[in-house]
């Protein structure tokens, strides 16, 4: 778990550096080596690592717009994921998806950039597992801001009435872009929402990966044993802006400081030291993680850009007759007719 956490943290720090290259001094979102928006998850590592430690490749995970730490812990191919973030041809989605839309069917990982919209597909994956009599489970990750969405509540209800093996993991980092939690909900503990559906709800109050691991173990065990869904809420912290380039003018300095003080990685290090791991052991893990990240980034940057023609592939599984995906093709035909 510790190794995954430091891998995720270092990965985010390196992506930040790469992202900002070419965007300085004046930040222009359309410049630099990494395209589009980038939502980093530094401060969220405890939930990805603690939950996914219980998951197998045949268990499904759906992630929201801030997916990297979850993807790393779920075992998504780091090199191809990085190539995708750099928009390269050999990326997970051949450069079509981008960082909010990572798909790795080998480990049953998928994303959606639309808030809470990973919840219904997670329910569907659980449904499939139940129909096929396997003991696979599904986990939907979402932010505390996302619990206001109908899609979450509808999914929770559906999972409850059908007793499906789903765990909803709410990553509570106190903020939804500029909206502090207390302004969007009167319920302090989002796991309480589970009560209204007679579903098990639980909250881990500190960003402690070991506590998350224990709570997630119970929740996932319950799901695997056919005992239905759980809402598991985890307190985390957002160490960076909502997206890269977010000036965070709305956020009090104390809050940023507090987020940096409560560091789940340092907490994990203390825990491991208490259990007999020495500085050298930790350093060795860190080095291994850093190497893996560097390797993935170097590999990704060496990958070819997609060929523009590829933009027209993959819309359907087969080529469709009479589907004018390319207006100029259609035109060529029309001109031909005239002559």
């Amino acid at each position: 778990m510790y190794e995954e956490m430091v891998t995720a943290r270092h990965y985010e720090e390196r992506l930040q550096e790469e992202y900002l290259e070419g965007k300085q001094p004046a930040f222009d979102i359309s410049a630099g080596p990494i395209p589009g928006e980038l939502h980093l998850a530094a401060g969220h590592e405890a939930s990805g690592a603690g939950v996914c430690a219980h998951l197998r490749d045949d268990d499904t995970v759906t992630a929201p717009h801030r997916p990297h730490h979850v993807a790393i812990s779920k075992g998504v191919d780091l090199k191809r994921m990085t190539a995708e973030i750099f928009g390269r041809q050999t990326g997970l989605s051949k450069g079509k998806g981008g960082h909010m839309h990572l798909y790795d069917p080998d480990v049953n990982f998928a994303c959606s950039g639309i808030i809470a919209q990973g919840c219904p597909p997670a329910v569907g994956a659980a449904m499939a597992a139940k129909k096929r009599n396997t003991d696979a489970v599904a986990v939907a990750f979402l932010g505390e801001g996302a619990v206001s969405q109908g899609a979450f509540l509808e999914s929770l209800n559906l999972a409850a009435v059908q007793n499906l093996p789903v765990v909803f993991v709410i990553e509570d980092n106190d903020w939804a872009i500029s909206m502090p939690k207390e302004r969007v909900t009167d319920v302090e503990d989002a796991s309480q929402r589970a009560d209204g559906f007679e579903v098990h709800g639980e909250r881990v109050d500190v960003d402690d990966a070991v506590a998350v691991y224990e709570a997630a173990g119970e929740a996932i065990g319950r799901a695997r044993d056919g005992n239905g869904p759980t809402v598991l809420e985890v307190q985390l912290h957002r160490r960076m802006g909502h997206f890269m380039g977010d000036p965070e003018a709305y956020r009090p300095d104390e809050d940023v400081e507090a987020a940096h003080e409560r560091d789940s990685i340092e907490r994990m290090e203390r825990h491991l030291e208490d259990h007999g791991l020495g500085d050298e052991d930790l350093e060795e893990i860190r080095e291994r993680a850093h190497e893996r990240v560097e390797e993935a980034i170097e590999w990704a940057k060496d990958q070819p850009q997609p060929d523009p023609e590829e933009a027209y592939e993959d819309v359907f599984t087969d080529e469709l007759e009479g589907w004018p995906e390319r207006p100029d093709k259609e035109l060529a035909a029309a001109d031909g007719g005239e002559e």
């Binding site: 928009g87 709305y250 995906e325």
Partner: protein, 344 residues
């Protein structure tokens, strides 16, 4: 055509970005009437992700500039309900791409309540939303979707391309008794982190003024070919027209400004003059704005029409990587090529 009683933007010294033009109109209407309020995600403390409400919180406070939970069905529908009580909400959906989670409120309530009530209720709300790509934000954050909203009856649809138009259209939208969908292109707003092309920053009068819906603006006059477009692509078309002019091809550029109502007459007049029509649209190719314009031109000026071309987003979800997005997004070069292909 620009109205006679409002000043020409070129004669005004004070230039604003498009977002400032919009915000100025909203602020004016907030001062005029207590019934006006703004509601959306990150509209207050953040000032709108695309600066569409920048600075309003300071003057009007959280009661009138309301941040809401991420619950589009809830707050867009609440906008409908408040509007049916005679208030004039301005409700923002952060990206047009997110309409799906709230489409029932938009389409079955906002758009249809006036009709279904036999005209006994109205829904005077402004539903504003950001559209468009050009910065590699991929398939869920880059769509334009003009056609989707214009296709559904019951909503007026407004798409400004300059600060001057943005302000005048916003005044008109807030004062309108019907629901108005106000779609602004991110690339035109004048954001520090997403440079705008030359053009959207224009002279804007201090005072309030309305740009009437259903009046297209001829942004460049020309005799050889008619280019009809809207939003960001007005500027791309003007760029293409400038290049074409060097080769003696004189393009007329029409900015539709509103899709519902649509100023068919201005388009037909121009097509009757030039005989050639190019429609440019950042929205998908099939079943959308470009097809509608071609159909209207065919119905209204078949005899004069010699050639037609469409420059659009092909029917593919918008890809992320730069070479792929560049391939599908129409640019000035594509407009120029389309014009040349029908101009001999």
């Amino acid at each position: 055509m620009a109205q006679a009683d409002v000043p020409d933007p070129e004669t005004i010294d004070r230039e604003l970005t498009m977002s400032r033009g919009m915000v100025e109109a909203i602020a004016h209407e907030l001062r005029e009437s207590e019934d006006v309020f703004v509601m959306g995600e990150d509209v207050a403390d953040y000032g709108g992700i695309f600066d569409s409400t920048q600075g309003l919180l300071e003057d009007f406070g959280h009661d009138r500039i309301m941040d809401v939970p991420i619950s589009e069905t809830g707050f867009i529908g609440a906008g409908v309900g408040a509007a049916m009580q005679g208030m004039r909400p301005i409700v923002e959906l952060m990206f047009a791409d997110f309409f799906g989670v709230a489409m029932d409120q938009i389409y079955n309530n906002m758009a249809k309540n006036a009709y279904m009530s036999g005209g006994s209720v109205s829904v005077p709300m402004v539903f504003m939303t950001a559209v468009g790509g050009t910065y590699n934000d991929a398939a869920q954050h880059s769509q334009t979707l003009y056609g989707t909203f214009a296709h559904l009856p019951g909503m007026k649809v407004v798409v400004p391309s300059t600060a001057y138009d943005a302000k005048g259209l916003m005044h008109a939208a807030i004062r309108d008794d019907d629901p108005v969908v106000y779609m602004f292109h991110k690339r035109l707003m004048g954001l520090a982190w997403m440079p705008a092309p030359d053009g959207p920053k224009t002279g804007v009068p201090e005072e309030d003024y309305e740009i009437e819906f259903g009046e297209a603006d001829v942004k460049r006059e020309g005799d050889d070919v008619t280019i009809v477009t809207l939003g960001l692509h007005v500027h791309r078309a003007l760029e293409a027209a400038a290049d074409l002019a060097e080769d003696g091809i004189d393009a007329e550029v029409i900015d539709l400004r509103t899709l519902v109502p649509l100023d068919t007459e201005t388009v037909l007049e121009s097509v009757r003059k030039t005989g050639k029509l190019v429609v440019v649209d950042e929205d998908y190719h099939s079943y959308g704005v470009s097809g509608e314009l071609v159909a209207r031109a065919t119905e209204g000026a078949l005899d004069e029409l010699e050639a037609v071309r469409r420059v659009t987003m092909p029917d593919v979800p918008i890809p992320y990587a730069r070479p792929l997005e560049n391939e599908v997004l129409p640019d000035a070069g594509d407009v120029e090529a389309a014009v040349r292909s029908i101009h001999e």
